[in-house]
Point group: C2
């Protein structure tokens, strides 16, 4: 069996790069000092249980504080327990909600103003990518999130695994009761058009492999096709032993800089030409079980 497409964690650097160079990206990550890992705030972690396993989402409270607060409130009230995946559109998104007709569906939630971008403060210190990006003048990572920025504003980018809050045409019509996750090519045209509220840290494969809906926009035509959500809890409300216990590599750390260089370089035995570029949505921020 040809293994051929050797992905992120299996590159082998050419010996010519010298003894100090890591032999693979996985070695590089494994060698990261403890200080290069962060433990996300349990108040920003949502554990969503599906029949197939658990999905863990980190809320982007620094970018969408009002949406994060609403989502915490909904999770704490048990609103998402018994909700369902109602949509899976190929090469685009999955979406979850209380389905239409569900007696527990709330339509009285206040609308939230869009949180499409925020001020670019010096404290954010993005890890800057140097290659051109199609959609933003400047791109890089802030606290683990892919971002674009310009003119003193910074926004989250619609990369694979990002979670957003559905809205109607009115830009301030989201109520955070219907959420989506990106499962296809990054739909960057939606950047600073819809509020992104977080990112899937674990369990994307449970969302991305959901059968595609055959209705318009990938909505399922029948309730029988829905994938149920058993429950959604904020980790802050869970006993420590029940939590997912994940750590995320700090994107402001040295190891992440090495990963950027490694991915741009790509000069291993498989690559017969130098690549020399890395795209914002092609970089994956490592996540690991807490040691």
């Amino acid at each position: 069996m040809k293994r051929f497409l050797v992905p992120f964690f299996f590159y082998t650097l050419r010996a010519a790069r010298g003894a100090a160079a890591p032999a693979s990206l996985s070695e590089l990550v494994a060698a990261a000092p403890a200080a290069d890992w962060r433990t996300p705030d349990p108040g920003n972690l949502l554990d969503m249980d599906l029949p197939g396993g658990r999905v863990v989402i980190e809320l982007a409270a620094d970018f969408a504080p009002a949406h994060a607060a609403r989502i915490r409130e909904l999770a704490r009230s048990g609103y998402f327990d018994g909700a369902a995946f109602v949509r899976s559109q190929d090469n685009f998104v999955v979406q979850w909600a209380r389905p239409d007709g569900d007696p527990k569906k709330r339509t009285d939630l206040g609308k939230l103003n869009g949180e499409f971008s925020r001020a670019l403060s010096p404290a954010l210190k993005p890890a800057v990518l140097s290659d051109p990006d199609t959609y933003a003048p400047h791109v890089g990572f802030v606290n683990g999130f892919a971002t674009g920025w310009d003119n003193g504003r910074i926004w989250l980018a619609h990369c694979y695994g990002m979670v957003g809050a559905g809205r109607n045409n009115d830009e301030n019509s989201a109520d955070a009761s219907e959420l989506y996750a990106v499962t296809g090519q990054s739909p960057r045209q939606l950047d600073h058009q819809i509020t992104l509220v977080g990112k899937v840290l674990k369990g994307m494969e449970l969302l991305s492999a959901l059968p595609r809906g055959t209705g318009d926009l990938g909505f399922y035509k029948t309730a029988a096709e829905y994938t149920p959500i058993t429950r959604v809890r904020l980790e802050a409300d869970m006993l420590p032993a029940e939590r997912a216990k994940l750590q995320v590599l700090r994107t402001e750390g040295t190891t992440f800089q090495q990963i950027i260089a490694f991915r741009r370089f790509h000069s291993d035995a498989f690559y017969h030409q130098a690549v020399g570029h890395i795209g914002l949505c092609n970089l994956v921020v490592p996540v690991r079980p807490a040691p």
Copy 2:
């Protein structure tokens, strides 16, 4: 139910754009003159039957003639009938082959030289995209395929749905008996590193939703997890009535130029800010059943 993420075919242009503007991308495509559609050569169409339905692949014979010839030969010999999907790596690729241990697996096929790029001849006339691309100095579409070019060479881009030929570290080690399709964020770092041989025109949702393999690189750990391929035929060898009968919008035509402008503009009721950009792998070339 919020519909919210209004994708390619459901945009409504602001009335301010005037009566001549199409109300939606679907209207624009529907209004395309017959001359803007092409019927692919049946000698370049592979119909791959899975238990869930049919996948149709157009071979990129202009870019990878030797690989296309080998794949035609393998299909005609029935080589892929009874092959299987042996790998599904989240946010990356699915791969199909005769599994290791399959007595019908051929290991005697001659290796093919990589067909990573070709001369950029004036006859190719790419539909040029004007936004910056992270991986290539110039990008656009040629005969329906997303491409990058520079210094007189042009190559296919690893966008969603592209099909390539697995190889080992030796750049000339592919034999076209193991193929993959991109199911995640476009892995553009593989452009002109691996030979791309074609593109899925229909049935991507059958590939992208395959359960992810839990072995290294997304390989399935057991044969019980494989999805079988019933048969693969070249449409040239099928009765006309059995063929998929698809047409592809000409990317060198006027309608495709309108689609590019439409997607860059995105000034509809949903978009509260102009987008003004469109990425190579964010443009989808329309495919329709022949009228």
